[in-house]
Symmetry: C2
Subunit: 360 residues, 2 copies
Amino acid sequence: MASMMFTDCSSSTTARLLPFRHNPLLCRNNGVVSLRRLINLSSPRSLRLHSSSSLSPSPTASLATETPAKVIDGKSVAKQIRDEINAEVARMKDAIGIVPGLAVILVGDRKDSATYVRNKKKACDSVGINSFEVRLPEDSTEQEVLKFISGFNDDSSVHGILVQLPLPPHMNEQNILNAVSIEKDVDGFHPLNIGRLAMRGRDPLFVPCTPKGCIELLHRYGVPIKGKRAVVIGRSNIVGMPAALLLQREDATISIVHSRTKNPEEITRQADIIISAVGQPNMVRGSWIKPGAVIIDVGINPVEDEKSPRGYRLVGDVCYEEASQIASAITPVTGGVGPMTIAMLLSNTLVSAKRVHNFQ
Amino acid sequence: MASMMFTDCSSSTTARLLPFRHNPLLCRNNGVVSLRRLINLSSPRSLRLHSSSSLSPSPTASLATETPAKVIDGKSVAKQIRDEINAEVARMKDAIGIVPGLAVILVGDRKDSATYVRNKKKACDSVGINSFEVRLPEDSTEQEVLKFISGFNDDSSVHGILVQLPLPPHMNEQNILNAVSIEKDVDGFHPLNIGRLAMRGRDPLFVPCTPKGCIELLHRYGVPIKGKRAVVIGRSNIVGMPAALLLQREDATISIVHSRTKNPEEITRQADIIISAVGQPNMVRGSWIKPGAVIIDVGINPVEDEKSPRGYRLVGDVCYEEASQIASAITPVTGGVGPMTIAMLLSNTLVSAKRVHNFQ
């Protein structure tokens, strides 16, 4: 998801030449927005776009649009959800004396994994969920990890178990994930959960956190799903595939675009709702988007940025500058889907504790 | 799947007026083939179609096409597969003395169910698979059914267990199906199997028989799947949904059309491969089909036919007369997907016995 590719859909050179609000529409020629495509867009908002391909940016390019897309503020929604969870945790504790608990197992010394685990602990603290943490050295055996999982499976104060991925290469990820009790699989990645998600008339115990967060954003922003065309870009087990299953459960008509799809742009342009989760920076250009579509961008990709002290900045799968002029609503990167994932993990832990204790 | 709807996409009145090979193109006005749509089709086979809506059929209608679609002969492929299974069963018996066994449980007196069970027994006999049958009266308890399932779960001579559906209304179908050991779930309907089918890098123990049969037909007829657009019409747990998952596993770009889809015709017309499983007679008209598409028609629907001694005949979801002039290949109804389902059941039973005995 965080492949280190360096492309950029904005052009600071061009930006100085154009009378834009703040973002240029033109992009470097990696998936060029062609003039023909742009003028073919018949926008319900009278969007009129004129552009040319832009390795050699043209001063004749111009943009006229009525309103830019509404920003889907994941950070603010996640905060709201955490407040709701906080209230529920307090209500449960008052009523039956039970506090939900989440256990996280971290193996090895990866800095990014350590940061994720720390953030999860903080998030638990912020809503009153107990957190349990096990840190094991890189050279631990599979058996040692399994022993801790087994302990948490049997521990009634633990309602969710999360093994931070990736695991060291000498471990069998499938064996370890399968050892987590399905009743505590708050990640929702167990095949039994995915099967139930796919089947009509069945319900999963847990819905995977990131796709659940995507749908929750659509709900909270009142985006209708039933009967809409939805295109999911990417078919990973953790985002794309379950996101498509969730959209179908809500009666969207889904298409799944992936690396073998021959005409991703054409298919994506039919979508009322786009969820992109491929880890390709700025892959989805303005020309891929139907005017008025709603875009949920799951990608978080580093791209080179000399101006940043870190030398890079984070962008989504979708070229925000272009998309925000065509879509009716879009998640930013960062502050879009990202904060929702942890909020949904807390939600799943609460759901689990309520289910075990039959608390409504 | 066998809803009793009476529509007809052929018109014997019209047929007499037109210079067709043997089938009329015009249809009663249930999903009208519009002139505009037909002439908009740009066929790689120089297909030129002229039609008008046809409750009052027009003598000006005409058809010119180079070659009709290839008929995908499921009956013959199923026979070939049964021969292959027969040879494998014999080889296994010779090598390790094991004969695969399939147990079928039938509850109640439904004639159609009794016929299905009889056909399964005959099919087992024809390939040398042992069959075990339990017939229970309509007023049996759930507990009695569960007792037999438990017995077959423990019986090492049984490698597949099948509970004939539908069960009497006083029984909980989910409880009963869940009781079948996943290692013997030759129907492949267990959520764990479906989950594995959906997930990349996982493999189901069994693939549901009818969708497996659909894909097998595509394989045996050399139809390329990778990178193709595939539209599945219908999202049932037993056909549509797993068929879509299977196509995606083979790198098709899938779209799933269902009852809430607003423009099924437009989406279906984008497909290189169509699998239809909705139980709506002749719903998919010629105008829904891209010239050269391959069509797998799972529907088996009775339609009124005064000329038939039974008063009805069986047709598919797809209007065969029209589709066969536009598609490059199509399954007939009957003799298409139908015979493949039982062949795949036998195949799954053999797969199960081989797995248990580690026989390659």
